[in-house]
């Protein structure tokens, strides 16, 4: 547990995640209040990365639950190990029913899935529930108990509450709105694309082999591209890929004229690429004009 947002930011920085001060404060408060943290934002801005870095910074084991449509309790929380129960019954042919009926539904025959694992764990853990918006609404309602009280109810065993208070991080791509009940229980962080300076430092941290001038050019270019009305804007990881791609082509700096053909690294929809190519021609003439003026 850090004592101030600044320290938290520094710790995350050491783990390779650059966080902006406002987000750091919010995250810090959620840790201080022991409340789950709901991170929203477009794809590829580092929501999951933030959770991973936080786990490393806090020295907690990460337990990850990837949500998808149709995810149910037997995959997220617990299941009974039927095969083992059957074996137990076969071995116990001679015993009295009264003796075995209790321990058939004991923790020994319980298969713990990520959520239960996080609750039962004796060491402190960080529970990451990834892309919660993909799950069904029933699952969301079920989570409420876990989020507010850090406990789960299993009909055969009763209520199990956590010993070590896991940190809970939820991420969402915003494809579906959550209920007020869920939002109320969480501290909310909205991550968006990093500012130019921050993106440059991220690139420097993740790809130190790249030349400074190239990094700056690429980041400026990407920031410009993000202002266009595209179907999917380039994410941070795509910026890194793109800078590496230009390096592989042995370009020292970014020149609008020779970018055609490289754009598919940055953008993933043919329509978007066509739009950008059109703009590139315009930018190219503009930059040539401004050079002539100088």
């Amino acid at each position: 547990m850090q004592s101030s947002p600044l320290e938290l930011a520094r710790k995350l920085d050491e783990e390779g995640y650059l966080i902006d001060p406002v987000t750091a404060t919010t995250l810090f408060l959620s840790l201080a209040l022991d409340k789950p943290c709901l991170i929203e934002g477009p794809a590829g801005v580092g929501k999951t990365q933030l959770a991973l870095a936080l786990a490393r910074a806090e020295k907690r084991r990460l337990i990850r639950l990837q949500c998808y449509e149709g995810l149910d309790l037997s995959k997220a929380l617990y299941d009974w190990n039927y095969a083992k129960q059957l074996l137990r019954l076969q071995l116990a042919k001679t015993e009295e029913w009264d003796e075995i009926k209790f321990d058939l539904f004991s923790e020994e025959f319980l298969l713990s899935r990520p959520l239960l694992e996080a609750i039962l764990s004796s060491e402190p853990v960080l529970l990451l529930i990834d892309e919660l918006d993909k799950s069904d609404e029933e699952f969301e309602s079920f989570l409420l108990e876990l989020l507010a009280e850090r406990q789960v109810s299993i009909p055969e065993l009763g209520t199990i509450s956590s010993k070590t208070k896991p940190i809970v991080i939820l991420t969402s791509n915003n494809s579906r709105d959550f209920s007020d009940a869920l939002r109320r229980r969480c501290i909310h962080i909205y991550l968006t694309y990093p500012s130019l300076d921050r993106e440059i430092s991220i690139l420097r941290a993740h790809a130190p082999e790249l030349a400074d001038s190239l990094v700056r050019d690429v980041c400026e270019f990407v920031a410009k591209v993000r202002k266009l009305p595209l179907q999917k804007l380039p994410s941070v990881s795509e910026t890194i890929d793109y800078a590496r791609a230009l390096k592989a082509l042995q370009l020292e700096e970014l020149n609008y004229a020779n970018l055609l053909g490289t754009l598919s690294v940055l953008l993933k929809y043919p329509k978007d690429i066509a739009k950008l190519e059109e703009r590139l021609k315009k930018w190219e003439t503009e930059s040539r004009q401004s050079k002539d003026n100088q």
Partner: protein, 454 residues
Amino acid sequence: MGAMNGWTFIRLINALRQVSLSISSQDILDAETCLARYPEIPPKQILRSLFIHRPQDTGVFETVWRIVVGCSEFLNSEVSKDTSVKKDLENNNSPGIGGQGTGRGTGGISLTNSGDILDSAKISRMISLSRIEELVGSEQEFEDVVKKILTDLDYFTWINSFDLAYQRGSLSEDDWILHHNARATIINEIQQQILTVQVRHYNSWEPVVRQHWLYKSLSLLSEEEKELVKSSIKKWTRKLALKQGARWKSSKKGTIDIAQIIRQSVQWDGHFFKLYFRHKIPQVPELVVLCDVSNSMASFVEFLIYVVTCFRERIRKVRILFFIDSIWDVTEFVWNEELTEVKQEIKSWGHKVSSGFSDYGAVFKELAEKKLQGISSQAVLVILGDGKNNYHQAQAEYLAQIAEKVRKVFWLNPLEKNEWSEPDNTMKDYQIYCSKVYRCRTARDLQIIVQDVF
């Protein structure tokens, strides 16, 4: 209570609740704990972290904070980025391109270092507070006040000069973006100031609520708010769109039809040789959307079409008809193209084919005589129009004829209810033939319509 005055705190919470932020008592308790425990963190950051539960609430929080606490650091870094452009506004120069080339893309660093900082405080000094007070005092509408203040600032001459420069091609793309940001900053600043004055004048939070995107007229939304409304529409419709009709129909694909299989297997003594499938038939059989696309209506049409496209899977057949004084079938076009292009098309079509003044009577006549035979008797007709007939004849008998043929007629009207009975408005003549008439002015109205109509 630490860094924050308790009275301010209570007033803030009260105000936020009035402008539809939900703040639970647990939130307040948490806020108090944090304020007491971490006096070194700015209280605004603490409260923002704890009270905002959905991203779209940030804007209204900023507004309320500014009015209640009134700090000078209201503008976050994002808005106050592009400062040197505003210098042009003050000096009223022709667009100065020279100095701005360095800060391309994101501005910020190089611009602020260059020395000619013109922050929001300076804009607010440019706006005369007494003038706003005078305008608000005379009970003018919010949008009118904004326009008048902008005129006072010579804002429109300023943006015109930029528009022209951009069209000539003498303004680069970067500068154009910078300029747009500057526009947004100025307008935002003026709106904030007016809201502050209005809240004080009326002594209620009503003006702020009215500016909330959910309650604001759809035609006055900014680009970001439009996106917000669209994404909300998507969410509202998603649930309904998944809900299919109750009736089943056998088909070659779909889920296995056990009843049918067993029924068939009887004749083979319990063996079955063939699988049968069935699927649900969409509940809404046919939807005919009739939109008035005269100038005043364009922004509302955009949202209605968006709603309809979200529903396309539930509806068996959709026809979209635009009209001003005659009908134009755009079904094919709207379905395949992006909406922005549709808007362009409406404009060019409007100039070519029509006088630009809507004539509902003629349109209903045309619909009844030419198109009605092609429309199923199970169809639902949704009409979007303000009912202003420009003193043409109402010819309501044709709407009656149409209403008899189709299953239901819904009329969505973007005007306030009291405007429906104005002399040139034919709403009262048509109303009796409609199954239901809705006011369709704000995103909130749309939400109700989505639940009721579809």
